[in-house]
């Protein structure tokens, strides 16, 4: 049994005018999502306008940090800082709020991976004033 994801590098993101608030909040362990104030849809990835109804009237709210695994893979080779971290898990997690987002799974044995597995967010400090969101199996 191989528990994976405890040796992952945490390369810093590149915040921009669409995403600065999101990445700033990660320093406090808060996972922000945007919602459209006109049509109500949750927006992912964060952006200037609602991709569903084109409204620019959007606002941030804090997500639960919980979700389920939608799909996953285990790269056996990886680029750059991840080169020495293989094997590890890249996944799409479906957030409770709806969006399916790409991320890593940690603290999980590769042979235990399944679609539908409940997971919760953990934060890995990048050392650059923000943190990466990753997910681990929900306790209990």
């Amino acid at each position: 049994m191989t528990t994976t994801g405890n040796n992952l590098p945490s390369p810093p993101p590149s915040p921009n005018f669409d995403t600065r608030e999101f990445w700033d909040a990660t320093a406090e362990g808060r996972f922000l999502l945007k919602r459209c104030n006109d049509c109500g849809v949750v927006i992912w990835y964060p952006r200037f306008l609602c991709p569903d109804c084109s409204s620019t009237n959007t606002s941030w709210f804090e997500a639960s940090g919980k979700g389920t695994v939608y799909s996953y893979t285990v790269p056996r080779r990886a680029p750059g800082p991840y080169r020495d971290a293989v094997p590890f898990v890249v996944a799409y997690v479906e957030l409770e709020e709806g969006p399916r987002i790409m991320t890593n799974l940690v603290d999980v044995a590769i042979e235990d991976l399944t679609c539908g597995m409940p997971v919760e967010v953990v934060w890995h400090d990048t050392g650059q004033g923000n943190a990466l969101y990753r997910f681990r199996p929900t306790a209990g």
Binding site: P51, D52, T73
Partner: protein, 400 residues
């Protein structure tokens, strides 16, 4: 055909600012799109075609329609410097005249007074990171590029996992696709891989990114291909067997505001458009060049084009269904990208070329389909797991 009187400019908008340090390039494109649509009196979601240049962060118009949430039938990133945008209007008129779209957004944005400062991390979609803020990193970059995913195989593996979970598809079924391609490649003296594979050999090849093995992946090759498209008048004068273009459909498939669905491709939209224009159905297709970057690409595309029900691709490919000349759906008789050639890591052109060879009766005799009449070539680009281009072309013999 002339475009004279076939299209009109209905809305215009010029950004009011001349120094924009507080916007990403993509945000400016979004503002321009909203402004032009407002001037035309249409909703942004009425737009069904986008024409822009290669400077839009990411993959040009494909990344832009992802950001804007548009479902389009036509995209164009023609890059000819400052003349691009005049050309784009002409291209838009041509596409509209041809019935490929009806409301085209043509857009140009730039920020030479506020060039990128910082290292560009997160923009490359590879490992990301480092060098400080990059306001014009592609909008999704930091949300997809920081997780250690390398190139295409690692991404397409996510599709394979989900397809297996939802439909019970197996690695053995995926391997059958490689086996079929290899049975064809053995007859192609130029093929990069000429050995015939067995299912067991595919499954025993090294795992690249679960559940995709090395032999689920296409070859990496130098080279390329080209074709000439002419008017009916020129075709008549050439006096050789020409492939008649019967229909074509295109569609991006993007992350759709977080509603990622890994079980299908853009072929669900490009395929029907091509079939409708060609006035044929899947039953008429006697040979298909199916984009085969990976075995899972073929499996999902066969389902999406309607050759079998969604989720049944794994069963469909068994019993030599893809093997020429007698299978249910002979495919990639040159050996495809899986065994023959995938030049520049892009297999679209070779798909067209083998479809034309089949129509002309110039495929290798061992894999030539008898009098195929009507054939199909399908191309896939970008990533099945995030945002992709999809194009379907239907060709026929001259009397088709």
């Amino acid at each position: 055909m002339s475009i004279r009187g076939k299209a009109f400019v209905a809305g215009i908008y010029e950004h009011p600012r001349r120094d924009i340090p507080d916007r990403t390039l993509t945000q400016i494109h979004a503002e321009l799109a909203l402004g032009a649509c407002a001037d035309a009196g249409i909703s942004l979601h009425d737009v069904d075609a986008v024409f822009t240049d290669s400077t839009v962060p990411g993959m040009g118009s494909l990344s832009l329609v992802d950001y804007l949430g548009l479902k389009t039938t036509y995209l164009d990133n023609t890059e000819t410097g400052g003349s691009s945008y005049v050309g784009h209007v002409g291209h838009a008129a041509t596409a509209i005249a041809a019935g490929k779209c009806s409301i085209a957004l043509c857009t140009l944005a730039g920020k030479p007074r506020n060039p990128n400062r910082g290292g560009g991390g997160g923009g490359g979609g590879r490992g990301g990171g480092g060098g400080g803020p990059n306001p014009d990193a592609q909008p999704e970059g930091s949300f997809e590029g920081l997780w250690g995913l390398g190139g295409a195989p690692y991404q397409y593996a996510l599709n394979a996992t989900r397809h297996m979970y939802e439909f019970g598809t197996t690695s053995e079924q995926l391997a059958e696709i490689k086996v079929a391609a290899s049975l064809h490649a053995q007859h192609n003296p130029n093929a990069f891989l000429q050995q015939v594979f067995t299912v067991e050999e595919v499954l025993e090849s090294p795992m690249i990114s679960d559940p995709l093995h090395r032999d689920d992946c296409c070859v990496i090759t130098d080279g390329g291909g080209a074709c000439i498209v002419v008017s009916p008048e020129v075709a008549r004068d050439l006096g050789r067997t020409n492939a008649k273009i019967l229909g074509h459909g295109e569609s991006p498939k993007h992350a759709d505001n977080g509603r990622v669905d890994l079980t299908y491709t853009g072929a669900v939209w490009s395929g029907p458009r091509a079939f409708e224009e060609a006035k044929v159905t899947t039953k008429d297709i006697r040979y298909a060049s199916i984009y085969d970057s990976f075995t899972i690409t073929v499996l999902e595309t066969i389902e999406d084009l309607g050759f079998c029900e969604k989720g049944k691709g794994g069963e469909f490919v068994l019993d030599g269904a893809l093997v020429a000349p007698h299978g249910k759906l002979p495919f990639n008789t040159d050996g495809g990208g899986l065994c023959n050639n995938h030049p520049a890591n892009r297999g679209g052109m070779t798909k067209v070329l083998e479809a034309v060879r089949q129509l002309r009766g110039e495929a290798h005799p061992a894999v030539q389909v008898a009098d195929p009449q009507i054939v199909l070539a399908h191309g896939t680009g970008g990533s099945l797991a995030t945002r992709m281009g999809s194009a379907t072309l239907i060709l026929g013999q001259e009397d088709a």
